[in-house]
Symmetry: C2
Subunit: 428 residues, 2 copies
């Protein structure tokens, strides 16, 4: 047998998992601060649900792990947390609206494995179902502001409304079946630049004059208010004007210090119906991919569960992998500590006594470990050092006679004789 992971999966050893748990804990705390409740849906879903018309679409379905249970039922692994949410809402008609849930969980995609793309990865989603109010959209942006503040990442949150994109492109006379392709090209403005985007839109058969106007409108600069003002002078299309109003209203609810109106922001076009948002590290040279993204998706749940009633929804999803990557790059996390243990006791012929000391410290809330291998002092120091444990406690007969132990700070090497109570005080 070869000892290896399945393709596209990996282990997270303690030094990484500790950091990941901290990120998850932070997001969870922020989500709960904003009134979201945890929901757990299963990893296995019926294939019929995963492949429903209004679910993820053909692209994602190709990447869905499909198999069957002992009863020959077709099942699969969820590829996102949105389809299960739609199913849950459909199965629970008495749910009080707005239903605000978060789910931090794994999803699975059997896609090509390259450049760090995994087949099993985490998504951290918050969604508000059952409200058309833009206060809900604003709340999603606030959550992103608060989460990145807590994670100490300096981000810009770009916002837009899909309606602005749709309306402007339509206003300039682009044929209905070309609107989406044009928008997809506009979305690339930041990445590939004006020339490339122009060429691509030309190739779609849009006339030169329209292209110039479109590109101009989507390249407005200045403050959020200035951009809105500029757009208003050009925009006549009713849908686009609605979109501008949406952006204005959202901004009015927000402390917009790091909120940037970007009329070219399109996001995954499939099911967004109004506002969209995406968070990027301010210094995009360090990391250019999005760290969180979301938007309003008013149509999906109703269509999915086959209801005449609409289930308006808006949410944002945080990317565990990019956040972890950025925090590591910026040195914001210590991926060297292999343990959360604060103190490691090295007993010197006094195991039972040391177990009692360890228990006393744990009772006081200090993560404490002790040598159980009866190793020598230097081997024990090596062990504590390699795990990154900050303090070592020596408890020999001499120390215990004085009702004290010797506390060693592993960083400075400084040693002190202290009572267990004082050790606890020092370490808390």
């Amino acid at each position: 047998m070869e000892l290896m992971n399945a393709r596209g999966t990996k282990d997270f050893p303690p030094e990484e998992k500790i950091v990941r748990q901290k990120i998850v804990d932070t997001l969870r705390r922020v989500f709960e601060l904003y009134g979201f409740s945890p929901l757990e849906t299963p990893i296995i879903e019926r294939f019929e649900v995963l492949s429903a018309k209004y679910a993820g679409g053909a692209e994602i379905l190709k990447e869905t792990f499909k198999f069957s249970d002992q009863g020959e039922r077709d099942i699969g692994l969820r590829y996102d947390l949105t389809v299960p949410l739609a199913r849950f809402v459909g199965m629970n008609p008495t749910l009080k609206m707005p239903f605000k849930r978060y789910q931090i969980d794994k999803v699975f995609r059997d896609g090509p494995v390259k450049s760090g793309r995994m087949r099993e990865f985490w998504q951290c989603d918050v969604d508000i179902v059952g409200s058309t109010s833009l206060l809900a959209d604003a709340q999603c942006i606030q959550i992103a502001q608060k989460a990145f503040e807590e994670l100490e990442l300096d981000v810009n949150i770009e916002i837009n409304s899909r309606k602005i994109l749709d309306g402007i492109v339509r206003q300039e006379g682009v044929a209905e079946d070309k609107i989406l392709p044009v928008i997809l090209e506009i979305d690339k403005l930041k990445k590939t630049g004006v020339d490339e985007v122009k060429k691509a839109i030309e190739a779609l058969g849009v006339d030169d004059d329209a292209i110039t106007k479109i590109i101009c409108m989507f390249s407005t600069v200045g403050s959020n208010a200035e951009k809105i003002k500029t757009l208003r002078t050009f925009v006549k299309d009713k849908e686009a004007l609605d979109g501008i109003k949406e952006v204005e209203e959202m901004l009015s609810y927000l402390d917009d210090k790091n909120v940037v109106f970007n009329p070219a922001l399109a996001r995954g076009l499939s099911y967004y119906t109004g506002p969209v948002f995406e968070a990027f590290l301010k210094d995009e040279k360090i990391f250019g991919s999005s760290l969180a993204a979301g938007g309003r998706w008013d149509k999906m749940i109703g269509s999915f569960i086959g209801s005449a009633k609409e289930y308006p929804a808006v949410g944002i999803s945080f990317g565990m992998e990019p956040i972890f990557t950025v925090m590591t790059k910026l040195g914001k996390v210590n991926t060297k500590s292999k343990t959360l243990t604060k103190a490691y006791i090295i007993p010197i012929k006094t195991s039972s006594e040391c177990m009692k000391i360890a228990e006393e410290m744990r009772k006081a809330g200090v993560n404490t470990d002790l040598d159980i291998s009866a190793r020598g002092i230097s081997k024990n120091l090596d062990y504590a050092n390699s795990l990154g444990i900050p303090y070592v406690i020596f408890a020999g007969e001499d120390e215990l006679k004085q009702k004290k132990v010797k506390l060693r700070d592993m960083k400075t090497g400084k040693e002190e004789m202290l009572s267990v109570k004082d050790v606890v005080k020092r370490l808390k």
Copy 2:
């Protein structure tokens, strides 16, 4: 499309997930107090790993979800957290020993769905790899003591050594190939009673005299010390005597207030090699199944990774489902609260102002939600009530003029005019 869960899976709505998260948080805190570090292994494993000879065995393999990826590789869903741990240890030869890890995660078994058995469920495992010391075994028992103390569940932790069972049955002349079947029957003493067990051992062809002696030894009563004393007068077999010594040594390390030596305790026989332990609610009439169980498994990892070197290991696994069931039965948890929100703000024509108040409260660490639907007061009170939010805040123009809000205690109905600062003080 039918809206339903895959067979053997279910959703955990907020009112259940909140309780489950509390249980997980408690276990995690206790595991970390005792010096264990988190490890995350993937849900998908290569089928070759899952089906390795020394892994779960034929019974579990029958229940393993098996499928293939786009590259036609055989893969499956893990059925426990032990095999992945063995693989991880094998793949990381530089791991410092003892390696103390915990993993709280989902496992999958495609078995018959009955009496609450799910196909996707949680396991909460701690294991110490790389130490033969009985201090490690004692630590697992301490963790169980601490965890159930924190969960406020009054349990007995039964302990034994597999060596006692093996040795005594062998000593009484039972044929080698009958030892395991006899032990399996002895394990049922508590459940089915002496008569049934006698009959079953008779049916295995063991002679009457031996049966009487065996049953007598495994039915010793009294304190732990008395049981050990009684056994010592009967036991001659060297292995059994070793087992008794193991139990004695473990007891010497423990505050044995709720540790009960039960020589008949066998546990999953497949890979345990020495001490075994199992936690039960003291009042078994309320709940008779085990809440946590574990033991020493010194042979598995070495055999699994094909190493001549032995990897001694001992661990304990907590059952999420039984713990949740017991806590609900005993009324220890509130499964009625659908949210962790402390306060719900009802704006009266002052949305923007209320968003600022909500932000102020969140900044101070109070989970706060606010109406975004512009509903009337009574609908809003219904909403807060149905979610189980303990406090409602009214913020109308009158209140805001006085720089105050009205705080309503939803339990008592009492209302007070307070500054936001005082509200925060009250709710923290």
